[in-house]
């Protein structure tokens, strides 16, 4: 009786073979996600707390990708099941939840967290349990590799911070023919100082010079005095690594003082708040590096944007796009894995060649970083007017 009822359930769920097998095994949930009739993947994201918007956007993208994979028949006839947990934007919580996902829920790969600090906290757990963790948006330079070498079970599908600085220096030299730059950097964040260092190194290597470097700290609102000082210098471009809250004000105050040189930034500019703070007039001749552009005419991107808008009623941002690619990337690695274990999935991830997503096509390098291009977005009157893939 018990047997037939289970078998019946399996058939109606359209995974007849796997379902019957699972019924025969009658394995307790846990130990290994691949034993059941579904493939379990962990989703460990910041759904509440300080950076909840990043986590929520990533998860929306992941879910859309996994739904597409499942609708297309899953992987070898097995549906993917997502086990979703909220780490409350807290590194300790992220570690605890990673342990639970891997040892109790039996996932064979984990996605997230979104920020570098929280993601790094889950890596030791991944190494212990031999289950790979992948982040779509942890961009700090030392996430997957440090002085001790590459972290075997940690991957990411986004470029790292210093690469953005390097590409922007290339863009300034080649596209804007800039010979002299000034830097205004957020000294209170590693992200911004890392970008500034990479920009300076590449820009000087190309024969450019840095006329002046000014610093500020997060939360400042008055930049008139440093901008007045910079106005006395001669330069072609301003490099402004930092987040939108201060960048918006700096751009506005610079334009008010009559500084009309191009202003270059990084993915920290990618927020509607930038436009609110700076206003439309000042947001001309502003360029920033990003993971993806919503005005990209690549058919894959156009399809993604229209499908996302239909499902969620809003235009996808970079986190949505990265989450979507992350879901597809993990599903792709699972489908290529020799068996459904964390170790086999890890090997498949490391061997990735020519994966195509909406944020670009990439190979996985020996440091578990993707080799992919960067989009440089140009703003005109506050809206994205140009986008160019570089690298």
């Amino acid at each position: 009786m018990q047997f037939s009822r289970r078998a019946l359930f399996g058939t109606t769920a359209a995974v007849a073979v796997a379902g019957t097998l699972a019924a025969c095994n009658a394995s307790p949930s846990g130990t290994n996600g691949a034993d059941g009739d579904t493939i379990k993947l962990g989703v460990n994201y910041e759904l509440s707390g300080d950076v909840a918007t990043y986590g929520q956007a990533s998860v929306a993208g992941i879910k859309m990708a996994i739904e597409e994979v499942n609708a297309a028949g899953g992987i070898d006839g097995k549906q993917i099941e997502i086990v979703e947990v909220d780490n409350k934007s807290d590194a300790a919580e992220a570690t605890t939840l990673a342990t639970r996902l891997m040892s109790q829920d039996g996932v064979i790969a984990c996605m997230g967290p979104a920020t570098s600090g929280n993601f790094k906290a889950t890596i030791p757990v991944a190494q212990d349990n031999q289950v790979p963790v992948v982040s779509g948006s942890a961009t700090a330079d030392d996430v997957t590799v440090d002085a001790d070498g590459v972290k075997e079970y940690a991957f990411r599908i986004c470029f790292n911070d210093s690469f953005q600085g390097t590409i922007m220096a290339q863009f300034a030299d080649e596209n804007l023919s800039a010979g002299t730059a000034v830097i205004i950097q957020d000294n209170s964040s590693d992200y911004a100082t890392g970008l500034a260092a990479a920009f300076t190194a590449e820009f000087e290597k190309r024969g450019g010079s840095i006329a002046a470097t000014e610093g500020f700290t997060a939360g400042d609102t008055d930049f008139n005095s440093i901008l007045t000082r910079l106005r006395g210098e001669t330069f072609d471009v301003i490099y402004l690594p930092g987040y939108y809250s201060e960048a918006g004000l700096i751009i506005k105050q610079a334009r008010d003082l009559g500084i009309d040189a191009p202003i270059l930034g990084a993915d920290g500019f990618d927020s509607p708040t930038l436009l609110e703070l700076a206003g439309t007039g000042p947001l001309n001749e502003v360029y920033f590096t990003n993971h993806y552009s919503s005005i990209d005419e690549d058919p894959a991107v156009v399809d993604f944007i229209s499908a996302f808008q239909e499902a969620n009623g809003e235009e996808p941002n970079a986190f949505h796009a990265l989450g979507y690619d992350l879901g597809k990337f993990v599903a792709d690695a699972v489908s290529r894995a020799s068996e459904l274990t964390g170790e086999a999935v890890k090997t498949a991830m490391a061997e990735t060649q020519g994966f195509t997503g909406v944020t670009g096509t990439f190979d996985m390098d020996e440091n578990h970083n993707p080799v992919k291009s960067i989009v440089v977005i140009g703003l005109a009157d506050g809206v994205q007017a140009t986008s160019e893939k570089i690298g």
């Binding site: 000294n187 002046a212 000014e214 610093g215 500020f216 700290t217 939360g219 609102t221 008055d222 008139n224 005095s225 440093i226 007045t228 000082r229 106005r231 006395g232 809250s245 918006g248 004000l249 506005k252 008010d256 003082l257 009559g258 708040t273 609110e276 703070l277 206003g279």
Partner: protein
């Protein structure tokens, strides 16, 4: 020279804002010897009231300033009535801790309602966004409005304190509250009035800052509040002209530090000034002049 004049304009705008906040600090200290740490938060709430009057009720800039001044007046009096008056006879430390508690309460209550993200001020009419170039020196009409309104309010304050009956009562209470009471002055009313005026000025400063920097958030009151406090101490806490001088000195020092290329030391220099003045002349620049105290 152009650069120097431009920096002077920057310093004047910054100094005017500090002055409006510092006056509230110094008046309250002058009258009840309390450093009202919640003062920076009244300024923050003034900025939000201005934001709402302009974005929700679509009122003009000057109406927004007026609305912020009215709401902050009520709030300031209420805080004094609820938090400080019951403690007036206890130690000064108790009131000081209450003031810090009040400051945190206001910050995080606002954060609960409006969130921590910075907000942009509503679009301003064209005459507020205009700017003139005088031989390379860019002067924005916003800066003129800030300096103008600050000067106007300070003249008004001087008039109230020096010539009205209430001003006389304020000066009397600050010198000796008990003697003032014996002379038939209502000490409670006078203190409430002092909080009202100080809070109104802070509310106006909040809206002016919102207009000028175009970014407000629930924690925006902390730094300007502390710097205005330094300005008040610099000039001699409790002395109105001292607060003015202090505010322009602090605004000037900050601008000068950035202008020389040490922008990261900007805040550090302000607090170094505080330490230096407390060591060298704890009563402040005009500290001797007790008769002027309010």
């Amino acid at each position: 020279m152009t650069e120097f004049l431009q920096q002077a304009i920057n310093a004047l705008s910054l100094g005017s804002i500090y002055a409006l906040i510092a006056l509230g600090y110094t008046m309250v200290y002058g009258i009840i010897k309390l450093i009202n740490f919640a003062h920076g938060e009244i300024y923050m709430i003034g900025a939000f009231v201005g934001y709402w009057t302009m974005s929700v009720f679509h009122l003009g800039v000057f109406e927004a300033i007026l609305a912020a001044m009215i709401v902050c007046t009520v709030l300031g009096v209420l805080i004094e009535r609820v938090a400080y008056r019951p403690l007036r006879r206890s130690t000064r430390l108790a009131s000081l801790i209450t003031a810090i508690g009040m400051s945190l309460l206001l910050q995080y209550t606002m954060m609960y309602f409006v969130g921590a993200d910075p907000r942009a001020y509503p679009a301003l009419p064209d005459y507020m966004n205009a700017s003139f170039s005088l031989g390379g020196v860019v002067v924005k009409s916003q800066q003129l409005v800030i300096i103008g309104i600050s000067v106007l309010l300070m003249i008004l304050l001087q008039f109230v304190v020096k010539t009205t009956k209430m001003g006389k009562a304020m000066r009397a209470v600050s010198q000796d509250p008990e003697a003032a009471q014996l002379m038939g002055i209502s000490v409670d009313r006078t203190i409430s009035f002092t909080f009202a005026i100080g809070s109104a000025l802070a509310g106006a400063a909040g809206v002016l800052v919102g207009i000028y920097y175009n970014s407000i958030n629930p924690l925006m009151g902390i730094m300007p509040g502390l710097k205005a406090f330094v300005a008040a101490v610099f000039g001699g806490i409790g002395i109105i002209p001292g607060a003015l001088i202090g505010a322009f000195v602090i605004g000037g020092a900050e601008t000068a530090v950035s202008a020389l290329g040490y922008s990261l030391f900007r805040d550090g220099v302000v607090f170094a000034i505080l330490i230096a003045i407390l060591i060298v002349k704890p009563t402040g620049l005009l500290g001797k002049n007790v008769r002027e105290k309010v």
